[in-house]
């Protein structure tokens, strides 16, 4: 049995069809305008959950990059200071050798002059050891004070470690411990003080001091190596975080954003369909028997 078709049912059907058509068109327009295919969780619940997770991950990578950048800056400062310290100490070693060999070894006045220069180097080294990054001494651990070493060369920082998180489960130490300048009897400021005093008064004891100086230089150089290693670790981590962030952003865009080409084609075909429906409706709904009766 075929349905009776009435004017009202026909117009209701046509209207429903046109409204559905317009609804789809409107949805496509909304997507085009916002550039997003997910603007509400219900647009795609799994997509929305993925988008939330991806956003969280991207934010984490950005935090790692920032921490790594800050860490590299801090390590660069420490590295520069250690390099300066290293060249100062090489100069000091030359001076000590000079003071131990003739003619200086036999000339108290020359030794005193060398000792004076060594005093200058010691003060320079102290100021290098008190280098700060953002107002904090880089060799002072986590100390709240402005200096790592006081004027006498005594360590006044703490033994805290400054860590930077550069990946999900990776933390890197970005401070350099005060042991870079030697520890105990080999602490460089004490060694330099002792050399300066012995050159002036007791040249024979300088040989022992030289061993201790070499040991101190060794500490600085090994600290430099460690800094270099950690520096490259930070750079690599930062690069990795950057690459991951880009990848995650691409993933997020795939989940959230519209495929523009497809959206345009969809919109076109939907508009064509809508216009065709309108034209057909205009043709179909007009005629009735009334048009043909006299």
């Amino acid at each position: 049995m075929s349905f009776r078709v009435t004017e009202q049912s026909m117009s209701a059907r046509v209207l429903t069809g046109l409204q559905n058509n317009q609804g789809r068109l409107e949805r496509l327009r909304e997507q085009m305008a916002s550039g997003k295919q997910i603007s509400r969780p219900s647009d795609s619940p799994t997509g929305a959950a993925a988008a939330l997770r991806l956003r969280g991950d991207i934010a984490a990578k950005e935090r790692y990059m920032r921490s790594a950048t800050d860490g590299t800056a801090r390590l660069s400062t420490a590295e520069g200071s250690l390099n300066t310290a290293s060249s100062m100490l090489n100069r000091a070693r030359d001076l000590v050798l000079q003071g131990m060999s003739s003619p200086a070894v036999d000339n108290p006045a020359t030794r005193a002059a060398i000792a004076k220069e060594l005093d200058g180097l010691r003060d320079g080294l102290l100021s290098v050891a008190n280098t700060t990054y953002l107002g904090r001494p880089v060799f002072g651990g986590t100390t709240a004070g402005p200096q790592a070493f006081d004027a006498s060369g005594t360590y006044i920082g703490d033994n805290g470690e400054v860590q930077r998180r550069i990946a999900d489960n990776v933390q890197v130490r970005v401070d350099v411990p005060a042991s870079a300048f030697g520890t105990g009897a080999n602490q460089l400021f004490g060694v330099l003080d002792s050399i300066s005093a012995n050159l002036r008064t007791n040249p024979s004891a300088v040989t022992a001091d030289l061993d201790r100086l070499d040991s101190g230089i060794e500490s600085v150089n090994s600290a430099l190596t460690a800094v270099g290693t950690r520096y490259s670790q930070l750079t690599a981590a930062s690069d990795a975080a950057q690459a991951q962030s880009v990848q995650l952003s691409t993933d997020l865009s795939e989940v959230e954003d519209i495929d523009l080409v497809r959206a345009i084609i969809d919109l076109q075909s939907q508009s064509v369909g809508y216009e065709a429906a309108l034209a057909a409706t205009a043709k179909v709904t007009t005629p009735s028997l009334l048009d043909f009766l006299r």
Partner: protein, 457 residues
């Protein structure tokens, strides 16, 4: 056979055709009236009566007899229409509620709670990286306040929605009461009219509209009484019986906070018993007020509790700049009450070691809470996924139901609706029949003229 029976036959035909024409006019006039059912003239030929003993029926007395007008309407389709409309109202109401709740989440976006939480974790990282920087500490406190405010706002949003829907339910129940009173009145008129042999087609149409409206409002079921009345019941309990209607009232908490102890219930005003499971628009609202809104408010309370507890646990394991153990960071374990308990930025327990004032170890642990499996961010993401799934499922069901309802409405229209072509054809038929009947009358008249005036001349 009497002399003038031909005239009477023609007269009955003229009357019947005029009635038919008028009915076509009535149908055309109401082609766009909502709920109108087309009417047909029921006629029967006079004559051909059953032969009786002792009487000789005249086989040639004739004419047409109008039996009355019939509403053309399919009861099965009407009942289905009520069921489908009730279901559509329920599903559409549910979809509206879920979309409304979904809008409270503002996800995915750069302004929703997820983005605020992300900023909070980044704030902890900043403090971990520079524990001595008071700008970083202040920024962290501000970000934490924004997170707390966002949670508070979401909770207020749910509470406001609850109150608005509670008012909407009151209005819906008022509508139901108006409709039931109207139905009882129409029942009365129809029953009395039918008994008096009057034409009650238009009244019946109006009554069917009210019954359909009631189904949409409350998901009622209707049954027909042989005397012409329509009884309506709500979940098995009688709502309208003949010409008496029972009023409904809404009971239950006016605020979201009191809902758990005093859930919403629609009751009969007369005996105070709960109306069993209202459907339709009222059903969607009751469901939202008793289940959906409290569930999402509780889910957000859970997010707030998780945030407070996890952050406080780590905070209390760390040390402030003065080396004292950290005091609770957040206070309040519900979305409505959570706030930042710390006021002094130095009280953020960034240090993992009481001896090291500017250590950032504990702040790093706090920042790591953002990635914690089963942590706040994951709990919140699960809530967002849940509202997304519920809303999209409801929307799909609603779309399907719309198509079914449209189909049933089309079928109902197809039976009861007025078709212009049909009415015009009927008009032509009645018009021509009327003309023909008058021709018959003229012919009989001429015959009688011949008989009376010309015979014997």
């Amino acid at each position: 056979m009497s002399t003038f029976s031909g005239l009477n036959t023609a007269l009955s035909a003229l009357k019947a055709q005029r009635r038919g024409l008028e009915l076509a006019g009535q149908n055309i006039a109401n082609a766009n009236t909502e709920g109108y059912s087309r009417q047909r003239l029921e006629t029967t030929a006079v004559g051909g009566s059953v032969p009786a003993m002792w009487a000789t029926p005249s086989p040639h007395d004739g004419g047409v007899n109008v039996l009355g007008t019939t509403r053309i309407r399919d009861v099965y389709l009407e009942t289905r229409g009520q069921t489908e409309h009730a279901r559509q109202a329920l599903l559409n109401g549910r979809t509206d509620v879920l979309f409304d709740i979904e809008s409270a989440f503002e996800e995915p976006s750069d302004t929703g709670l997820q983005a605020r939480l992300t900023e909070l974790w980044a704030g902890f990282t900043d403090v971990a990286d520079s524990p001595g920087d008071s700008a970083a500490r202040n920024q962290l406190l501000v970000r934490a306040q924004i997170v707390a405010t966002t949670l508070n706002t979401m909770h207020t949003g749910f509470a406001n929605r609850y109150e608005a829907q509670r008012t909407a339910l009151n209005d819906t129940v008022t509508d139901i009461n108006t409709a039931t009173a109207q139905l009882a009145d129409l029942n009365d008129k129809v029953v009395k009219g039918t008994a008096a042999g009057l034409d009650v087609n238009e009244l019946t149409d109006q009554r069917d509209l009210v019954v359909l409206r009631l189904a949409e409002l409350a998901g009622t079921i209707s049954t027909r009484d042989p005397n012409g009345a329509v009884h309506v019941s709500l979940g098995g309990a009688p709502l309208v019986t003949g010409n008496t209607a029972r009023a409904l009232v809404v009971g239950g908490s006016a605020t979201l906070a009191g809902q758990a102890g005093n859930p919403i219930a629609v009751r009969f005003a007369d005996d105070g018993t709960a109306a069993p499971g209202p459907g339709g628009e009222a059903g969607a609202l009751v469901e939202s007020l008793n289940i959906t809104l409290p569930a999402y408010a509780a889910a957000m309370d859970n997010v707030a509790a998780s945030l407070t507890n996890s952050v406080n646990a780590v905070q209390q394991g760390g040390y402030t700049t003065t080396g004292t153990a950290g005091a609770p960071f957040f206070s309040g374990t519900t979305a409505g009450t959570i706030k930042v308990a710390l006021t002094n930025p130095d009280d953020i327990a960034a240090s993992a070691n009481p001896a090291l004032a500017l250590d950032g170890g504990n702040a790093d642990k706090l920042a790591e809470l953002g990635r914690l499996p089963g942590g706040v961010s994951e709990i919140y993401a699960a809530v967002v996924a849940r509202i997304g799934i519920e809303a999209s499922t409801a929307a799909q069901l609603s779309d399907t139901q719309d198509a079914i309802t449209d189909q049933v409405d089309f079928a109902r229209q197809s039976v009861a609706g007025v078709n212009m072509d049909e009415e015009l054809t009927a008009m032509l038929t009645y018009q021509r029949s009327y003309q023909a009947a008058s021709r018959v009358m003229t012919a009989v008249d001429e015959a009688l003229d011949t008989l009376i005036n010309r015979m014997g001349n």
